[in-house]
């Protein structure tokens, strides 16, 4: 089940591998398609078996994408920072600053100025985190916690100053903001939407995906996807990216090769803040219709979890974000019913995982997963729907489960979170 992570992290400190199970080499990109296909098949089966049609309607998938992008952008911010060796749990705070910046600048100067303003606000948070951790050597988690406190307070205070007197605004929310431009892909969008309503096994489900990707596509979504492509290219295909990543793997070695580690770390953390600011902007402008206090709701943290899930790689991060965005969307649209149908998918996944563990002669693990799968299956059969309180927890439980199952196959940058001082290389 986790060949992707296994192939990319052969040196991870996982459980001892049986001799027969040599790591299979396959490019991560082709594996991504296999996963997407498997996911589609699982969703289609669950839809037919449980009759919960909304679990992969174009509407749900579109909402999933809209909810996934802020998580993905925050995670991308985390990726920049942690690849340079700075753990950034202040993402949440930088995202809050982003929502505030987006609210203020979008209202006064329009959508694009709003985006720039949000990124600037986020970047200020990033600079602060960088100054504390890189220049002064403060513990990264401590600095992140402090930045989250400051950002939440500053946003709540400034929101009252910015929006109180405005029409439609108030001390805790901005007036309604204009949305970013969006468009439909001609012909394809209409055809796919028609096909999606036909209720054909797998075919309609695939059409749903196409419809979601071609209908009402926001310019900000495209920009976010471009940021992913850009990050991948910059960090893995340019000398700049190589140097930046070397600061996260071995800053002392980078220093001896003449890399200005402080500068690279500062650039990375500032970029991280700007991306988190973009995430906040997307949340305020595209995913909802304006700034509101407490809008981020822990999405910065989920972004961080998505990045860990993605093994500190952009592709995996995007997959993780889509997963979390999807669970979030499923609960919002006919929540109880959809999440109930998802239980079937989870149960099947756990049982397959149990079989896989059995094949690798790990009886104890197999029994554990089989029991867990049985419990979830029983839950699916016994109840018709799930209380709304539980559906709200879905993304968080999903994060915990995923980390519990995969964390040992992950490999973070070697010097991630460690203090570094210039001139201490031996």
């Amino acid at each position: 089940m986790s060949t992707v992570a296994g192939a990319s992290a052969p040196g991870a400190a996982g459980p001892p591998q049986p001799v027969g199970a040599a790591p299979r080499r396959s490019s991560p990109r082709s594996m991504l398609w296999v996963w997407l296909l498997l996911g589609l098949l699982a969703l289609a089966s669950a839809r037919v078996l449980s009759g919960a049609d909304d679990i992969d309607s174009p509407g749900t998938l579109g909402a999933a994408l809209t909810l996934a992008i802020p998580i993905a952008l925050a995670g991308l911010g985390g990726l920049w920072s942690e690849r340079a060796g700075v753990v950034n749990i202040g993402l949440e705070g930088m995202m809050i600053l982003g929502t505030l910046g987006a609210g203020y600048y979008t209202f006064h100067f329009g959508v694009w100025a709003g985006l720039l303003g949000a990124m600037a606000f986020g970047a200020i948070g990033g600079l602060l985190h960088g100054t504390a951790t890189v220049v002064f050597g403060v513990d990264h988690i401590v600095s992140g916690v402090a930045i989250n406190i400051i950002a939440a307070g500053a946003a709540a205070f400034l929101a009252e100053v910015f929006f109180s007197g405005l029409p439609g605004g108030g001390p805790t929310q901005s007036p309604a903001l204009p949305n970013a431009p969006s468009f439909d892909v001609p012909i394809l969008s209409g055809a796919a939407s028609d096909l999606a309503t036909k209720d054909w096994f797998v075919v309609s489900d695939a059409a749903s995906v196409v419809a979601a990707l071609t209908t009402d596509m926001s310019a900000f979504t495209l920009l976010a996807l471009a940021a992913f492509a850009g990050t991948y290219w910059v960090l893995w295909h340019t000398p700049f990216g190589l140097r930046l990543r070397s600061c996260g793997e071995s800053p002392t070695a980078a220093e001896t090769l003449g890399v200005n580690v402080y500068r690279y770390k500062m650039i990375a953390v500032t970029a991280s803040g700007a991306l988190a600011g973009f995430a906040g902007c997307y949340l305020a402008v595209v995913a909802s219709s304006g700034y509101a206090n407490g809008q981020t709701g822990g999405r910065g943290y989920i972004g961080l979890a998505a990045m860990i899930f993605g093994n500190w790689r952009p592709g995996g991060l995007l997959t993780g974000s889509l997963l979390f965005g999807y669970t979030d969307a499923a609960r919002l649209r006919s929540g109880g019913e959809s999440v109930h149908a998802l239980l079937l998918v989870v149960a099947a996944g756990l049982l397959v995982f149990a079989l896989w563990q059995l094949r690798r002669a790990r009886a104890a693990h197999a029994i554990g997963f089989a029991v867990a799968g049985g419990v979830v299956l029983f839950w699916f059969l016994a109840a018709d729907t799930i209380p709304s309180d539980f559906t709200q927890m879905t993304p968080f439980v999903a994060t915990l489960l995923v980390l519990a199952l995969f964390s040992q196959r992950l490999r973070m940058p070697a010097a991630d979170g460690q203090r570094y001082r210039r001139g201490e290389a031996g």
Binding site: A132, F136, D139, V142, I149, I150, L158, P387, Q408
Partner: protein, 365 residues
């Protein structure tokens, strides 16, 4: 380095932090065109005796929260989940006490124990995930905070009862209430009886950490995990123990208010205490007395700021900025002082070596 100088250096860091926080707050107020003078006049006014009692009450609760976070910090464990543990524990304790299975004081005592166990169990999830699956406690406790919110809301709906606008657990029988303590003569509002829990927990924290083998192992693991392993410390067991203990203390946070004032867990419970506790522990440098000072400062600021909106027309939220800046500048200041101390020690050692050049050359020959 002389003792006086060392003490001076320890005290200078919080001083720098307070000055920095005051400066930043004033600049923010100036930037948005509010009156800086009025702000400080309100915040630094002498609190009435009623407000003083409120400050002591808030500080005792924040102190417990700070201790819970500090136990983890001493071992380099970041228990960000104090908030979730506090919510789960307070709900469980309130529900148990509301059942009135036991008479009088016994009910109070056992309910406190139940709450501590619930807090420890909630933290235990993160502990188990860390030692068996290697999941960072930072991420898992953050997720558990969110899950705790949903879980408690669900349980409140299933097990609670409607009272007017809010939903709450069954009110605790009067025999189990803990009477308040009159702190200021002539003042009708009282300090929570269970504020004494903070005192007990603080003393316990100091004794366990500094006078027991467990505390030594805990600090040793925090200072250097490899060294601790080499000297025979079972790090996995210490991780579980520290997180359970941290969760158990987090379970105490809600008790003073539960048995002293609200007598039930309702949707009006004070949120964010767990996060503030982390900040308080950082400001107090995980030292039992330092945390107390931090708790007092934070409680003072939040209580005093309540009047800002009415008197000066300034949003009380500004105080959250002040508190955040205190945290960030205090950790930076401690780091700067540490580096400065290190440099002084290095020069002193170098000077001492220079004074005895003979010793060096003898080794060489």
């Amino acid at each position: 380095m002389s003792r006086a100088r060392r003490l001076g250096l320890t005290l200078i860091a919080p001083l720098i932090a307070v000055v920095a926080a005051a400066l930043v707050t004033s600049l923010v107020l100036l930037g948005v065109g509010e009156s800086v003078g009025e702000f400080w006049a309100v915040v630094l006014s002498v609190p009435s005796s009623r407000l003083m009692v409120t400050i002591v009450n808030n500080a005792s609760v924040l102190y417990l929260s700070g201790l819970a976070a500090a136990i983890g910090f001493r071992m380099n464990l970041f228990n960000i989940g104090v908030e979730g543990q506090y919510r789960v524990a307070t709900f469980t304790g309130a529900y148990f006490a509301g059942l009135a299975l036991l008479p009088g004081v016994l009910n109070t005592l056992v309910a406190i124990g139940v709450a501590m166990a619930a807090g420890a169990a909630w933290a235990g999830i993160a502990a188990v995930l860390r030692v068996t699956r290697g999941v960072s406690e930072v991420i898992s406790t953050i997720m558990l905070n969110a899950i705790a919110g949903g879980l408690v809301a669900f349980l409140l709906r299933e097990l609670g009862e409607q009272q007017g606008q809010i939903r709450r657990t069954t009110t605790i029988p009067e025999s189990a209430w803990v009477p308040g303590i009159p702190l200021i003569p002539g003042e009708p509002s009282l300090v929570y009886g269970l504020a004494l829990l903070a005192l007990v927990a603080g003393v316990g924290y100091a004794v366990v950490l500094n006078r027991t083998r467990f505390g030594f192992d805990l600090r040793a693991t925090g200072a250097s995990e490899t060294a601790a392993v080499a000297s025979g410390v079972n790090v996995k067991r210490m991780t579980v123990a520290a997180l359970l203990l941290s969760g158990a203390v987090a379970g105490l946070i809600g008790m003073p208010d539960l048995f002293g004032d609200s007598h039930a867990y309702g949707s009006t419970i004070q949120v964010g205490l767990g996060f503030t506790g982390i900040a308080v522990a950082l400001v107090g440098r995980n030292h039992p007395a330092g945390i107390a000072l931090g708790a007092l400062i934070f409680a003072f600021l939040s209580v005093q700021s309540n009047a800002l909106g009415i008197i000066a027309g300034i949003s009380p939220e500004i105080v959250a900025v002040t508190q955040g800046v205190v945290v960030l500048s205090v950790v930076i200041a401690y780091e700067v002082v540490r580096r400065y101390q290190l440099r002084i020690e290095q020069t002193e050692v170098a000077r001492a070596l220079e004074r005895e050049p003979a010793a060096g050359s003898e080794v060489g020959t």
